[in-house]
Symmetry: C2
Subunit: 299 residues, 2 copies
DNA sequence: AAGTCGTGGTCGATATTTGCACCATATCCC
DNA sequence: GGGATATGGTGCAAATATCGACCACGACTT
C-alpha cells in the first residue's frame, strides 16, 4: 500500500535482465540478500508478484512483463536527467583561486585539482602557496585552506579531518640506532630558519636527542630522513606514503592540527565556488583515514 | 562521480515546489535535516548546484529549471507504473481458503480480510475455524494459522510475533478484591469442557484461587470477566482492547504462544496465495506491539 | 548414490541513515 | 532596539538497512 521506493525500480530492471537475484546483485554491486529484500519490498508495495522463484532463477510474471516498459521509461528519463546535468554544468566557467600551505598543495591538493579541471574544463583553477589570511581578506583568493580559524575574521568555513603528525625515520636508521625498543644516539633533523632554537623538540617523544643538519623545507627534510640522516616529524598522510620511511616504533602522534576550508561570506552564493568547495571537501573526506593516520602502514 | 539516488528526484521535486527545505520535508513526511542532506547528496552526485540557499528559502538555479522537466517525466513514469500495477492486479481472481483458531479469526483476522478483499475484489476469501492440520493436508484449505509447527509435516511457513497472554479482570472487581496489592478472595472463571479439573490454574499467578462458573467460549469468558464475575487469562491483543478489562496489577505474562502462517509447498508458487500470505504477514507484523503486549494499556 | 554447483531465503553483527535538539542567521514587527 | 518567527546547518543517539555467513533445496556430474 505504501508508495514504492524509486530505487527499487533499478533493482527490478537488474532482476529482469539478470534473471536471477545473485546476478542482479552483482550488476548492482550489492549483496544478493538486500536485492532479495528489496524485491519483496517492491512486490508488497505494488501489491503484485513480479517473479516466481523457481529452481533455476526467476521467472517473470505477466505483471513484470507489463511493468517493464514503464520501468525502462523511468530509467531513460533518469539517464536523460543526469546527462543534461553533466553536460550543462560545463557551462560553468571562470576563475577559482585557492591558497593553501605549501606541503598540502603539492602532496594532496594538486591531484584533486587535476580531477576537478577534467570535470569542469572551463573553470580556471589557480593555486597560491601561503600561510596568511590576507589573500582571502583582500580578495586575491576565493578559497583558503588554513589550520587556524578565528570566527572573528568574518569568514565561513567547513572543518576537515584533523591532520595528524608522527615521528618518522628510515628503516635502516632505526635498525642502526634502536636497541631493545630504545633509541640510542638518535638525532633530529634541524628545521633552521625562524625556529633556530628548535623548541618544537620539547614536545616530541625524544626531547633530549641532538639536532643535526638544517633543512627548512619539509620535503627536503623528508628526503633526508628517508636517506637515513635522522628523525623528523611529518604529517602522516605524507610520511606513510614515502617508501623508505616508517613511523618510529613505540611513538604516539606528535600533534593533531585542525584544518579548515575557508571562504569569504560574499562568495558563498557563487555556484562556481560552491561547486569547487564541495568537490574539495568530498575528496578530502575520502582520505580521512590517511589524514588522521587511523590505519597502520600500507604500501 | 557516483550515480544519483533515484529517490532524491522526489526530494528535488518537493524542494522545487515547496521552495524551502522545511516545507518540502513536511510534504515528504521527513525531517528537514535529512532533506537538506539529500539535496547536497544529489547536488554532489550531479556535480551541479540546484538551489542557492538564501534568507527566505531556496532559489532555483538555471540548472534546476532545466532539470525540472526531466524530473517530472520520471515522476509521471513512476505514477504510470504504480497505476498499471494496482489496476492490473485486480485480474487476480479465485479462491483463498484460510483456517485459523476461532478467537483469532474473529478478533484479528476478519478486519484484515475485509481490507484485502477491498483491494483484490475478485479473490474469494473463505475462513474456517479449526485447530487441526487436516484441512491443509487434505487440500481443503490453502493457508493455516496455527500455534504448533512440526517441520516433519512437510509444510512451509513463516513465524509471526508470539502471542502473549495476561491475567485480566474488571476494574471494579479489582477494586473489591484487592487490598494493598494482594488478592483477597479472588476467583477464576472456569473453562469447563475438556479441562474440567482446571489444571491451567497451576501456571497462573494465583494457583490457589477458587474457580467459579463455567464458560468454555473465550469470548463469553471475556464478557463475564468484564462484568466483574472473576479473573481470566486472555491474549493481550484482545484483553487490552476491551474497555472494562485491565491487566491484574503486579502480574506477569502467563504464557507466550508462537504462531505460524503455514501453507502447503505446492501452493508456494501460486501468485494468489503468495499475495494473500504476504499481505497477512505484513498486517499482523504492524500489530506486533499489541500481540506481544509490549505497550501498556491504551484506550 | 554421493558430491558439487547454482538457486533463493534467513539471521545476527555492523554501517549507514534518520530524526531530534540545538545553533547561527536574517527578517519582520512592535 | 528587542523579541518572535522564519530560514538552513550540525552533532549525536537511535532506528534502519546492509552485508556476509549460513541454510535448504533442486539439478546436474561423477
Amino acid at each position: 500500500m505504501s508508495e514504492p521506493d524509486w530505487n527499487d525500480i533499478r533493482i527490478f530492471l537488474a532482476l529482469f535482465r539478470g534473471r536471477s537475484v545473485r546476478r542482479a546483485a552483482e550488476n548492482l554491486d550489492m549483496s544478493h540478500s538486500t536485492v532479495s529484500r528489496h524485491l519483496t519490498d517492491l512486490e508488497t508495495s505494488l501489491g503484485a508478484v513480479l517473479f516466481t522463484r523457481s529452481r533455476d532463477g526467476l521467472l517473470a510474471t505477466d505483471m513484470a512483463e507489463r511493468i517493464l516498459a514503464k520501468a525502462e521509461a523511468v530509467e531513460n528519463d533518469m539517464i536523460d536527467l543526469t546527462r543534461t546535468a553533466v553536460s550543462l554544468d560545463s557551462v560553468m566557467s571562470g576563475p577559482v583561486r585557492v591558497t593553501c600551505p605549501p606541503l598540502l598543495s603539492q602532496i594532496m591538493i594538486m591531484p584533486m585539482i587535476a580531477e576537478f579541471t577534467k570535470r569542469y574544463p572551463d573553470i580556471e583553477v589557480s593555486v597560491h602557496s601561503s600561510y596568511s589570511f590576507e589573500d582571502l581578506m583582500r580578495g586575491t583568493a576565493d578559497i583558503a585552506l588554513r589550520s587556524q580559524f578565528d570566527p572573528n575574521d568574518n569568514l565561513v568555513g567547513r572543518r576537515l579531518p584533523d591532520f595528524t603528525d608522527y615521528t618518522y625515520a628510515s628503516k635502516d636508521y632505526i635498525g642502526d640506532h634502536w636497541f631493545e625498543g630504545d633509541a640510542t644516539n638518535a638525532n633530529w633533523l634541524g628545521r633552521g630558519g625562524s625556529d633556530a632554537h628548535n623548541k618544537w623538540i620539547k614536545q616530541t617523544p625524544f626531547p633530549n636527542a641532538s639536532v643535526r643538519h638544517d633543512f627548512p623545507d619539509m620535503m627536503d627534510q623528508a628526503q633526508a630522513a628517508a636517506a637515513g640522516m635522522g628523525m623528523t616529524v611529518l604529517p602522516c598522510y605524507y610520511g606513510d606514503q614515502l617508501p623508505n620511511l616508517v613511523r618510529v616504533p613505540g611513538t604516539q602522534p606528535v600533534s593533531k592540527r585542525p584544518i579548515w576550508a575557508l571562504t569569504h561570506p560574499d562568495l558563498r552564493t557563487s555556484v562556481r565556488i560552491k561547486t569547487f568547495l564541495r568537490f574539495l571537501v568530498t575528496e578530502i573526506s575520502k582520505q580521512e583515514a590517511q589524514i588522521t593516520g587511523e590505519l597502520g602502514v600500507d604500501t
